[in-house]
């Protein structure tokens, strides 16, 4: 259990062969393991490399994003789902009212999104408490009547555990290989069981591949 003292006293130099990695020494279960030449340092480097690689932010820009500011003024009277409190960014957000099962309803042809094979869909949500049951659904339909080519439901309440504050939820979707340009990509929210008013803002779609 020497590492705190060694770090405090400069025993592990800040600019040694692996400069910032000494911070990861506490992660090791046995400090004396690190004193064996080579093994601990190598393991720490691998762990750090994995961690850094995993934390690298995605560089892709959204192919579509909606902040709801643009809707203001175009729909008269202002619909009840267009709220100005709370908002994540800008002046307006979307409210999935406690009287509604479905909301958002973003619809775009697959071709106009740049023909994504791997699509990331995300949104900021604001839930009042943990008793909600709400999901963000991505669906791809073909033709009329619609034939469902893809469907995935992301339960938002399973991952959002902080309430009355804005939280980012997102998921990656591997779309089928045989999609056509006029297939319709739909993104919508669904709530079931007891209904509450929930807020969404800054929804985005990113083409990852």
């Amino acid at each position: 259990m020497l590492w705190p003292y060694k770090v405090a006293l400069g025993g592990y130099p800040l600019f040694s062969r692996n400069p910032p990695l000494f911070l990861l020494y506490p992660l090791s279960l046995r400090a004396n393991f690190l004193h064996k030449p080579g093994r601990g340092r190598r393991a720490t480097c691998w762990a750090a490399a994995l961690l850094l690689a995993a934390c690298r932010p995605a560089a892709e820009q959204p192919i579509s994003s909606i902040g709801f500011e643009d809707v203001e003024g175009w729909v008269v009277p202002t619909p009840p789902w267009l709220t100005n409190d709370p908002v994540h960014n800008g002046r307006r957000a979307f409210a999935l009212l406690n009287t509604e099962n479905y909301g958002l309803n973003i619809t775009r042809p697959w071709g106009s999104l740049g023909r994504p094979r791997t699509l990331e869909v995300g949104t900021w949500v604001n839930l009042p408490h943990g008793r909600t049951h709400v999901a963000l659904i991505v669906q791809v339909n073909r033709g009329d009547p619609a034939e469902v080519r893809y469907y995935k439901l992301i339960p938002i309440h399973e991952v959002v555990k902080r309430y009355n504050t804005w939280q980012l939820v997102h998921a990656t979707h591997e779309l089928p290989d045989d999609l056509q340009d006029d297939d319709i990509v739909k993104v919508y929210a669904w709530q079931w069981d007891a209904h509450y008013t929930l807020f969404f803002d800054d929804i985005y779609l990113k083409k990852l591949r």
């Binding site: 279960l29 046995r30 994995l50 961690l51 995993a54 934390c55 690298r56 995605a58 408490h129 943990g130 008793r131 992301i154 339960p155 309440h157 399973e158 991952v159 959002v160 555990k161 980012l168 939820v169 997102h170 998921a171 990656t172």
Partner: protein, 448 residues
């Protein structure tokens, strides 16, 4: 002059017995004190925002148990038929409030744990870590978990100490407390069959086997009769599963828990326990198939070629059954698995068994736990497919999950020189998680 002196043994025995009893009860009292103290501190600091009362304790299934206690089984098509009558019966006849029935449940839970401590000679550390299982919060609220825990503890004590009376009593109580006969009967068969012809007269073994199965069937028949007399449908408890959509289907990947990420890691822990239990059952079963005709020699006995305790075999089989039911009947939703496995005495027995393993075997088990944990991570979506987690965040989440798994093995099998410190840390983390989950439960937030 004639004087009457106390007999030397009588003078020494009673205080010694009292001291022994006190020593056995000490970890239970300590745990009660720690939980109450932690709850008080967290409430004072405003981290926990409400105290249990007669209203918020009736959340989720507790309300259904309360309804059965009030009205009985009044509807053949209702989900209440899945809840077995032992807890509602006690509630009905005592007329207790929700707080009082919770206190009774807590007492049953502690009694069950004390019984396991006696039967398996659990150390204080083992007892405290076992008591701190986060999902044991369901033994502190008006659920049937505490009575099921007590009944199962009696059963396991009977199996381990080879007392048929305890086995029969435990099976009856457990089968009356929860709809678990479909898990208990195969587990009992497995435990008895793997000891078939090992040191006992086979007719006696057959008698034990039939007595255990009869106990389950009598309890189950009693429940069916009760429901038949209430609303005319003796199979209502079974039909409820179809009502809830519990039909056999391959699991949808990635696995998830409808209770969310704050319970998912516990469900995944239970999944690892169930997976490794399946592996153990297969190995033990194969060994039994290849050697059941041979009578064990003195050498084999000395080399520990006999199967583990029947209680361990039963626990392994139960965990396999619970895992199978959740994975193949809930379409990939793991919710409930942690409650069925980690909040049961079967997990306590498996935790005890860790300490019985030779050092080399324990190390192999730690590697197997790590491997099973990584497989569970993949089944949950891995680093790239974990909903709403970027890979770095998922790495931290799953890293902590694997650390939690390894901590149990390290503490149970004393694999590290720091096992005492690790045990204390595990205990405190578990207690905090338990209180956090209890707070969510009292806020009517779905956790299991």
């Amino acid at each position: 002059m004639e004087t009457t002196l106390p007999r030397p043994d009588a003078a020494g025995t009673r205080p010694r017995r009292l001291a022994r009893l006190g020593a056995r009860l000490a970890p239970l009292l300590l745990h009660t004190g720690v939980l109450v103290g932690l709850y008080a501190v967290l409430y004072t600091l405003g981290i926990i925002t409400q105290l249990p009362d007669n209203s918020n304790l009736l959340s989720w299934d507790a309300d259904l148990f309360h309804r059965i206690a009030q009205t009985g089984y009044d509807d053949a098509a209702s989900g209440i038929n899945a809840f077995f009558p032992l807890l509602p019966g006690i509630w009905h006849f005592t007329g207790f409030s929700a707080i009082q029935i919770s206190l009774l449940n807590a007492t049953c839970l502690l009694a069950g744990m004390a019984l396991l401590g006696w039967a398996f000679r659990l150390s204080n550390r083992q007892l405290l870590v076992a008591l701190s299982g986060p999902l044991l919060l369901f033994g502190l609220v008006p659920y049937a978990e505490a009575l099921f825990f007590l009944g199962s503890a009696v059963l396991l004590a009977g199996l381990h100490r080879q007392r048929l009376g305890l086995v029969v009593l435990g099976l009856v109580v457990a089968c009356l407390a929860r709809s678990a006969a479909t898990l208990l009967i195969p587990s009992y068969l497995f435990a008895e069959l793997l000891w078939w012809g090992r040191g006992h007269w086979r007719w006696a073994q057959l008698g034990r086997l039939l007595a255990g199965i009869a106990a389950c069937l009598v309890a189950l028949g009693g429940v069916m009769l009760l429901q038949y007399r209430s609303h005319g449908d003796a199979l209502a408890f079974y039909k409820v599963h179809a009502l809830w959509g519990h039909i056999w289907q391959p699991p949808l990947l990635p696995l998830h828990s409808s209770a969310g990420i704050n319970v998912l890691w516990l469900d995944a822990t239970a999944l690892v326990v169930a997976g490794l239990s399946l592996l153990s059952c297969l190995v033990l079963g194969l060994h039994w198939l290849t050697s059941w005709r041979t009578t064990p020699t003195a050498t084999a006995v000395a080399a520990q070629a006999l199967p583990p305790s029947k209680a361990v075999l039963f626990s392994l089989s139960y965990c396999v059954g619970a895992g199978y039911f959740i994975v193949f009947y809930q379409a990939g939703d793991l919710v409930g698995l942690a409650r069925y496995v980690l909040a049961s005495p079967f997990f306590v027995v498996l935790f005890w068994q860790l300490g019985q393993l030779p050092r080399q075997r324990a190390r192999q088990l730690a590697a197997a736990v790590l491997g099973a944990g990584l497989l569970a991570v993949l089944a949950l979506g891995g680093l790239g497919g974990f909903n709403s987690f970027y890979p770095g965040q998922a790495l931290v989440y799953f890293g902590l999950f694997l650390l939690y798994l390894l901590a149990y093995v390290a503490v149970g099998a004393r694999l590290t020189p720091w096992f005492r410190e690790a045990g204390t840390a595990l205990y405190l983390v578990n207690c905090l998680v338990m209180l956090y989950l209890l707070d969510l439960f009292l806020h009517v937030i779905w956790i299991n």
